[in-house]
Subunit: 452 residues, 2 copies
Amino acid sequence: MIELPGLITDPAVLAGISHDEAEWAPVGRPAAALRAQSTVDVQRAVRVCAEQRVPVVPRGAGTGLSGGANATDGCLVLDLSRMREIVEIDTENLLAVVQPGVVNDDLKKAVAEHGLWYPPDPASAPWSTIGGNVATNAGGLCCLKYGVTRDYVLGMRVVMGGPAGDYGTEVSLGRRTTKGVAGYDLTGLFVGAEGTFGVITEITLRLRPAPTIAARTVVGAFHSLVDAGRAVALCTRRGLQPAALELLDRTCMEAVEEWKQLGIEPGTAAMLLARVDTPGDAEATALAEAFTEAGAAWAERSTDAVEAEALFAARRLAYPALERLGPVLTEDVCVPRSAVHLMLARIEETAARHQVRIATIAHAGDGNLHPLLLTPPGDDVARLAAQAAFDDILADALELGGTVTGEHGVGLLKRAGMERELGPEVTAVQRALKRTLDPLNLFNPTKVVGEL
Amino acid sequence: MIELPGLITDPAVLAGISHDEAEWAPVGRPAAALRAQSTVDVQRAVRVCAEQRVPVVPRGAGTGLSGGANATDGCLVLDLSRMREIVEIDTENLLAVVQPGVVNDDLKKAVAEHGLWYPPDPASAPWSTIGGNVATNAGGLCCLKYGVTRDYVLGMRVVMGGPAGDYGTEVSLGRRTTKGVAGYDLTGLFVGAEGTFGVITEITLRLRPAPTIAARTVVGAFHSLVDAGRAVALCTRRGLQPAALELLDRTCMEAVEEWKQLGIEPGTAAMLLARVDTPGDAEATALAEAFTEAGAAWAERSTDAVEAEALFAARRLAYPALERLGPVLTEDVCVPRSAVHLMLARIEETAARHQVRIATIAHAGDGNLHPLLLTPPGDDVARLAAQAAFDDILADALELGGTVTGEHGVGLLKRAGMERELGPEVTAVQRALKRTLDPLNLFNPTKVVGEL
């Protein structure tokens, strides 16, 4: 029996905060949940759970796509979304200190008022929390040029146990300086660890000066998906560095068009959208040229900020447009950039082979593809076919020198894929780190390195 | 008795490869040394050393400044400088695969032929190896804008033991893709671990397109060191992002002038040198304005590439100019950028209090200061005073919210400072990782987390 003030045991409430947004990831039945208001709440909960050997599953907004925040049987769900204070914005040193429950877009807005910018922009930015972004090392659109979440985390406070002391001990990792090499990079190790080493209670983030130049958009329409992939390779080879380089395939565009009637031409197999934030015309021109040379039916550039945003609308609408059609199983492979067109071709083959409808959104400039497997609601045969296609996509990505997860994390859905990618020796090293840092296997057990 | 083909036991040769360039760090007597030619050599050496419990001290060019490559008594010095093959330059994916002994500048030249750029630029770049750069997470001048070594390491191959298997097992960490979150970030953990987890045998590095714009230099001369520090803070606050922002104090400039007669005006207390690599004049103008507003006696901008380099000459010559005067104990603190002027003032006070001559070079834009403690050769009293000053500088950096090492690493010289900075809990976590990954304490023992 867990005894803590404010403990939630109402089954309906528990059900609502027992899972993230991953389709088909297993969800256990938690013993209880707690909405922590402070570090002291987190410490007390961890202490009590350690005594009773109750697993602790930390969560933020629950927007994850790999089951990393799903409850395990008998666990305490530790909801951090109410710890949402922006503790400090340091304009002199371009950094912010935040609690884990601060929503990404709220932080962006708060720092923008000081002429600063927090770049990481996962698609979930309007809802997802910084704690969750850090736990999964979230990517997004602008990481092509500006890096992923890890590149912005200078330090953090974590409630942990094991070598740090009794479970419930809070430690401070990292620093407030731009550089520093005093000891092993624990901050970097805890970023992307999906809450399996401890509970993040505070994060120190690097900021950038706000961009001073309005972004422009370059759009290219392609008659073939593979040509679009080739255009991406050409941009990379020419050293072009747009702030984003996104790809939408035909299924995405049809779903958007059906819903919102943006006037996307039928017959377009793929669209590339580049965002340019350098001064002058040179970069936009070079991108449009590369698109055309790779076989684009047409390539267009925005003339003002409103048009730039309008041209990006299809990208933002793609995911919700597809979700209207039924459950979406979101893949997240990343391949070397030169292999994007090969991976796209394989995804088309996989879709045909398994008779599964697959729509692909890609952070193409990074080689990070999100094939979205669409199934009619309640159709078990289609679901099995989609799961087989999911496995084939992972195998193809590995064969092309890629990874099974570019930015969504391992959670529950990618455990087998991760082991296949890393091999037994490196998997054993991963497990050894988990045992060392969390000897009771208290924090988010079964995730990442958890046994299948 | 170690038995390996090619073993070096000649005391004179051993003495030459038993230490790095750190002044006053303790140097042990190795049992032998081996110049590895291949991964197989490394694996065999590690296997034999593990059987006989002979510590393995890996080294590259030995340009380190913290004693990280210094021999420990009875160890095998494993010299990797002959493993200097550039295995691959992948122009399609902007990456290179190299052996650890490749010299930084050699890699820069090789990738430049393909229109590519490897940014990390420690001052040792003409001699230091990529393996050493990775082991220490080397910084440099351009990390202000382009990041440190860690930001360029995508993956590596490492000969290790412990959870990976028998000592001598080679594992592959990381990836070739730009993004990836499959498991804990072992690559990041091994970068900066100073060879205490294993021996790096191959590294996969991210590259950038070669810069297309010639760099320009903006120089500001200040009558007061503290004004120069304020100029740095002003540049940061205004969101200026030069590719480098370096500071030289009076002692540096006098040493350079005495040696090379560049025509630096006497009476200048500090000089700031900024490198600008964005198109147009805006950034250089804004930097010059910030220098002037902060109280610069004058601020000048280069008009062509030759002049830009000439203006930077004083920075490049400072260290060798000072070394002519006697042993140089190189400090490496990093403070929040807003505290640079406070740290500079404290260094001046420390120099006066201990009667030690201190010259300060700083990557000022990063808050990373290198106070260089100068002592007449053979003067033991001066040496004790310098060591006391060294400790005071570390304490001051910590008091200002900084770190005891910005880019040189812990090695032997900063072990006590690191413990003071991290505190007992985090130090215990560091030690636990070392015990897990190297249970025999075979790899570079006594360094970083090694007991004092």
